[in-house]
Amino acid sequence: MTTEPPSSEVQLTPGGRLRHFLAIENLPRSLLTEILDTAAGFVSVGDRSVKNVPLLRGKTSVNLFFEPSTRTRTTFELAAKRLSADVLNMDIAHSATSKGESLLDMLRNLEAMASDLFVVRHADSGAAHFIARHVTPNVAIINAGDGRHAHPTQAMLDMYTIRHYKGGFEGLTVAIVGDVLHSRVARSQINALLTLGAEEVRVIAPRTLLPADVEALGARVFTELEPGLRDADVVMALRLQRERMQSALLPSEGEFYRLYGLNEDRLRHAHPQAIVMHPGPMNRGVEIDSGLADGERSVILHQVTFGIAVRMAVMSMCVSGQESGEV
């Protein structure tokens, strides 16, 4: 039977270098560590007055965002510019595709513009993989989020943040709280944490917000907040979208906050030095209260800074992998 190659084969050159960044699954630990180490170099570039390096000068990066997102798109744009690349933003919502042009046709048209990188966000799981399989050779695809499947750059910047504050992943207990069912961020985070050697990864959510067979992802399941938080070193909150109330998954935001909302009081159960993270944007008073979001344990603002460096790392590694000529 015709099968698809494992995602590692699509993402890596035969020599094991990154050429597309689509998902965390099947990537070796050494590669994830290389991304973090490369990002460290770019963090220091961000501290200079001249924040650019010439690595991608002459290259073009195209932002293909089928789902609106100002924050993530801006971060990718900044990352590309700091690498001295030219950036194109395709406003898909108002372009031909919404009028029925197929994804593939649109891709062919864009390829004529000789881009080197596509940063893609799409509502369908597997969209980034599909594009990577059909794009002309030597174009790197970076997944900025596909459906519920993966958001690998977000996961890597979260890993960078954890490594920055905790020194490493050994012995770490990480709790992910919230809508795991719909979260591509959570899936990528779980994969990354386990690959990088975290001791235990937990998911805390009501059953309606947990996917089928979630243990198969490698996480330990809790449906109650307090036991789930006990002794956790890192607490990662997920965003709860308003639509979930409409689909009969939750009665109200209020009830969600009462049962799963994070605040200082509940964090008592976690490790005294536990840090609190959130991929943003936050719903204050729903997943997390303001006191905690703005307090000492929160590293949320730093996540943003690290995000630019991590994306610079991924973009430069992918372009270099594509150019290496390994087929």
Binding site: M1, S102, D124, G126, F130, R184, R187, A216
Partner: protein, 427 residues
């Protein structure tokens, strides 16, 4: 089709599950009628076919296929698809009514018949719409459709959420003793799911179709079958849990038959790994436990029929991210080779396997087909079980959406005769 075949098929292994026959014998077809099966037959003037080492089977019956005409949802034409069927030893095809326009009036039935006759490759047995426009609100003109040639009625998997409407449809059908084919899938529980709601869907972030989307529908439909006494066939069972309900129903004496697609017997949810949209079908490929249970159910007869699930799609329907692709596999080219593959893997005994694609589906549709019965128009095929080939190299269906294109599979059809006419001949 002009029934005019005049053949003496010599020394083939004649396999006819309906008659319990498995023996080397000669088969004589005269003027399109199967006249005799016996040893050392003599027939001056008949074309001699040396069938030594080959199998003589009844023409295969594929329970439910999606029709390519009228309308454009499926690619190809009745001519191209029935030709693919003939090359696969298939002589009779049940045609679903989800055409465009919908087969809820006699004119569409007539069109389908005429196109099939004109092409002359296989017999299509049309299934009429259960409700007007398949919308699940008003009864279709079932009697008229029956007079026009429909052998059964179905809503083709489109939801009939109003249980009262469904009950009335079934009562009406039962009134004329017309069988109804159910494709059990509860619409709201299915949602926009495109994969089995299990670990693979979770890993890939694909919206899932839970088992209860099928069992809830099966349970409801069985209750209505009990209440109305209609003859019922359940099409495309995918979950082990549904089998329990079917077995219970049989024990209660309900007139219920069921089928499963060949793909659900060979593949499970892992086939979707890497976002393999070639394996995107409805109902989805489920856990391997379900697959095993389905195989056991075919072996013990709980699932009477194996079908191809034939849905030929053009490339634009497949070249998209998986959730956007249309579900379905183009199955006519590979029904028999996959069946033989299942048998050679020891997963199903040969006789039951052949019965599931010949006598059993004919019985469910209430048609005289799927058997080698002397005195009737001959519908048979000659199969060489030995050679292995790559189906993609001689693919005939207009739809190439199949995960089996590059897989080496056993069995080559040398000759197909449909209702007395030779529809396929190869060296």
């Amino acid at each position: 089709m002009q029934p005019d075949a005049h053949l003496l098929i010599r020394k083939g292994r004649v396999l006819d599950p309906a008659a319990g026959r498995d023996e080397v014998a000669d088969v004589l077809v005269e003027n399109g009628r199967l006249s005799r099966i016996g040893a050392s037959l003599d027939a001056p003037g008949a074309e001699l076919i040396d069938a030594e080492g080959l199998w003589v089977l009844p023409g295969l019956v594929d329970g439910c296929i999606r029709l390519s005409e009228p309308g454009g949802a499926c690619t190809g034409s009745i001519a191209s698809e029935t030709r693919a069927a003939a090359a696969g030893g298939i002589t009779h095809l049940g045609g679903l009514p989800d055409t465009d326009p919908v087969m809820d009036n006699a004119a569409v039935v007539q069109l389908v018949y005429e196109q099939a006759e004109k092409a002359g490759f296989a017999r299509i047995l049309p299934m009429g719409a259960l409700t007007h426009q398949l919308e699940g609100e008003h009864l279709a003109e079932m009697h008229t459709l029956h007079q026009a040639g429909c052998v059964a009625f179905t809503n083709a998997g489109y939801p009939t959420t109003d249980a009262l409407v469904l009950k009335r449809c079934l009562e009406y059908a039962a009134n004329f003793d017309l069988p109804v084919v159910f494709r059990p899938q509860e619409a709201a529980l299915t949602g926009n799911g495109c994969a089995h709601d299990g670990r693979i869907a979770t890993h890939l972030g694909l919206p899932g179709v839970p088992v209860d989307a099928e069992t809830v529908a099966v349970a409801r439909d069985l209750e209505l079958v009990q209440a109305t006494g209609v003859r019922a066939h359940f099409h495309q069972i995918s979950a082990a849990a549904s089998l329990r309900l079917l077995r219970d129903a049989r024990e209660r004496g309900l007139p219920v038959t069921a089928d499963v697609s060949i793909h659900h017997l060979l593949l499970n949810e892992h086939a979707l790994e890497g976002f393999n949209s070639l394996c995107h079908i409805q109902p989805p490929l489920r856990h391997d436990r379900d697959r095993q249970a389905l195989l056991e159910a075919v072996a013990d007869g709980t699932l009477d029929v194996i079908c191809s699930q034939h849905t030929p799609l053009g490339s634009s329907a497949r070249l998209a991210p998986l959730p956007e692709t249309r579900p379905g596999i183009s199955g006519l080219d590979t029904l028999l080779p996959l069946l033989l593959h299942l048998v050679e893997r020891g997963e199903l005994p040969l006789e039951r396997a052949l019965d599931a694609v010949t006598a059993a589906p004919a019985r469910c549709l209430g048609r005289p087909a799927g058997r080698l019965e002397p005195g009737h128009a001959a519908s048979l095929c000659l199969v060489d079980p030995e050679p292995r080939r790559i189906p993609g190299e001689d693919w005939l269906s207009a739809g190439r959406n199949s995960p089996w294109l590059e897989t080496e599979l056993p069995g080559v059809v040398r000759l197909t005769v449909c209702e007395g006419k030779v529809t396929w001949l190869s060296d």
